[in-house]
């Protein structure tokens, strides 16, 4: 087990603050977007791109590397913000989000922005694609991992459970699913729409190695990602349940369903930036 130095955790936390600020400025500039689910997966993205993959300019062009699919494509502003944070795209480009002709589509599009691993937005599809990548990694015997970031509303979808069944039955140990369990989906709280908790026993019954943790605690997220990216879980696919808060980092957004899809006004941007940057 790799134990990450406290200094590295503090660096990642600073990264997460800048990513949150980018999310707010992007959605403010675009006039629409999904701030709630973008803010909840910030630590996951920072841990994957900055810590695990050590991504930067040129990283994506390599053949041999990890693969990350943001299956919950509506959190695109968080993905673009992370790309800018690690130097994969210019920071100035963030202001083009959702504009006509922009590479930063409302939901990620790999044909316009090649740094996007997979075009997503129709929920439920990304885990299967990550599974295909994991199968290819195993076929080539490559020492990398295929990560899919899922939403807890997204796993309502039957296709997710098709992928869970296949990966568990076939012991696809290069596959890591990370659930951004913020407890809220479009129409309301998970329990008001489709309650699927508890997750862990279901996933374990399907043959997955499962770990639960505080998805807003950077040290815990990094530790979980390191565990999933090691031989420790054995020959099983890995499922990380990150308990998160929708709209995390900004008090007036936190844990509120109406911030799933919402614009960020100039006043809200100012207040939000003060909170996230401290």
């Amino acid at each position: 087990m790799i134990v990450t130095d406290q200094k590295d955790i503090e660096k990642l936390e600073a990264s997460a603050r800048r990513i949150r600020a980018h999310i707010l400025t992007q959605i403010n500039a675009a006039g629409s977007g999904h701030p709630g689910g973008s803010m909840s997966c910030v630590e996951i993205l920072a841990a994957l791109f900055s810590h695990r993959a050590a991504a930067g300019a040129g990283w994506f062009g390599r053949n041999a590397r990890d693969h990350v699919i943001l299956s919950k494509g509506h959190a695109a502003p968080a993905l673009y913000a992370t790309f800018a944070e690690v130097g994969m795209i210019p920071e100035a480009e963030l202001r083009t989000l959702r504009q006509l002709g922009s590479r930063l589509q409302g939901h990620p599009d790999r044909t316009r922005l090649p740094e996007v691993e997979m075009s997503t937005g129709s929920l439920g599809q990304g885990l299967s694609v990550s599974l295909g990548i994991a199968l290819a990694l195993k076929l080539r015997k490559e020492p990398f991992y295929s990560y899919a970031i899922l939403g807890d509303g997204e796993i309502n979808s039957g296709q997710i459970w098709e992928a869970i069944a296949y990966a568990g039955a076939n012991r696809i140990d290069r596959l890591v699913a990370i659930l951004d369990a913020n407890g809220i989906q479009n129409d309301g709280r998970i329990e008001e729409v489709l309650e699927l908790r508890p997750y862990a026993p279901k996933l374990e019954a399907f043959g997955w190695a499962v770990r639960e943790f505080d998805g807003q605690n950077m040290a815990e997220v990094v530790d979980a990602v390191d565990w999933a990216s090691s031989d420790a879980p054995g020959d099983k696919p890995r499922f990380l349940i990150a308990h998160t808060t929708k709209g995390a980092g900004v008090s007036f957004m936190a844990d509120r369903a109406d911030w799933h899809s919402h614009t960020v006004s100039d006043e809200q941007l100012k207040a939000g930036l003060e909170e996230v940057m401290g």
Binding site: H67, D109, R110, T111, E117, M118, S119, T120, G121, S122, G124, Q125, G126, L127, S128, V129, S130, L131, G132, I133, A134, L135, A136, L137, L139, R140, S146, G158, Q159, E162, A163, A165, Y166
Partner: protein, 323 residues
């Protein structure tokens, strides 16, 4: 499984057997090719491939959406996945995955829809596909093929393995007569348009193995003094530009499309759009499946009942020739 006799008449070839042989040759030539199945591997003739290349065959179970998504992952990783199941299940169950996980990101995935049309017969409407080509043609960027015989499929296999991007090939269930010459080389591609019979009274465009039934009808009508020019169309999307010229030569005379598919979204619609775009005025007699599902029955009886073979087809063509 259909109870139809499987004795293959002389000169008849089953498209799926040609497919089974073609994937062996392609698989040997290109190690990037992987086979994906959804619990119908015995029907899709991939068992031999699985035996020879066990690492390159994946059975996803009855989970077509996951299979299509995994195919996208293979394509991202530089492999060339062949996705195989019934046309009905592929296009109806995994439509959104085909559109968003494959076509939208322009991934190099090869779809094969087995038992397209109604000729599967006895199994009935749930396993038949009268709308597969409408679905696949409606999704941006997918090249669509409906080979007219085994030799034609062999050419299509060469073509789809070489072109970059998503493709869809519709296959038929039962052995059908060989109408086109044997494939000369692995470089040979499907013709945009193939003359099957000559005649001056009616121009008929047809596609898939139903072409054999159209040729039968044309031969019978020739004896009655009605000449029918039959053109076989293998690639429905994009349609070859030369097809418009063929129709233009027939200006002022009658044109019909005969297809084992819904009259909505199939060859007739594609041809109509091509001719509209070329500024060629036309009236197309649409001989296909009206707005309805298929049903159970012996394949030949079913095709006749739907007016796509035998005497009913002859009568419809005769009426069309009269204008």
């Amino acid at each position: 499984m259909a109870a139809t006799p499987t004795n293959v008449p002389e000169g008849y070839v089953s498209l799926r057997d040609v497919f089974g042989d073609a994937i062996m040759a392609l698989g040997a030539r290109d190690p990037r090719i992987v086979m994906l199945d959804a619990d119908l591997a015995s029907s899709t003739r991939t068992m031999k491939f699985k035996k020879t290349y066990p690492d390159r065959h994946y059975n996803f179970g009855i989970a077509e959406q996951n299979m299509v998504g995994a195919a996208a992952g293979f394509a991202i990783s530089g492999y060339i996945p062949f996705v195989n199941t019934f046309a009905s299940f592929l296009t109806r169950r995994a439509c959104d995955q085909i559109a968003i996980s494959v076509a939208y990101p322009k991934l190099n995935v090869k779809f094969f829809g087995f038992h397209g049309g109604i000729n599967l017969g006895e199994d009935g409407a749930t396993q038949q596909a009268v709308e597969d080509l409408a679905i696949m043609q409606g999704i941006p960027g997918i090249r669509c093929y409906a080979p007219i015989d085994g030799n034609d499929l062999a050419r299509v296999m060469n073509e789809v393995a070489d072109v970059e991007g998503p493709t869809y090939v519709r296959l038929s269930r039962f052995p059908s007569p060989l109408l086109t010459p044997k494939v000369a080389s692995a470089d040979e591609r499907a013709a945009a348009c193939r003359l099957l019979t000559e005649g001056g009274d009616l121009l008929v465009f047809t596609t898939s193995t139903l072409a054999a039934k159209v040729i039968e009808a044309a031969a019978a009508l020739k004896a009655e003094g009605i000449g029918i020019r039959v053109l076989g169309i293998t690639r429905l999307k994009p349609l070859g530009e030369e097809i418009a010229a063929e129709a233009e030569e027939f200006a002022g005379k009658s044109i019909a499309v005969v297809e084992e598919h819904s009259i909505h979204g199939g060859l007739a619609d594609g041809l109509s759009a091509l001719l509209d775009g070329a500024g060629i005025s036309h009236r197309i007699e649409r001989i296909g499946v009206p707005d309805r599902f298929g049903e159970s029955g012996h394949p030949d009886a079913l095709l006749e009942a739907f007016g796509l073979a035998g005497a009913p087809l002859r009568e419809r063509l005769k009426a069309a020739a009269r204008g």
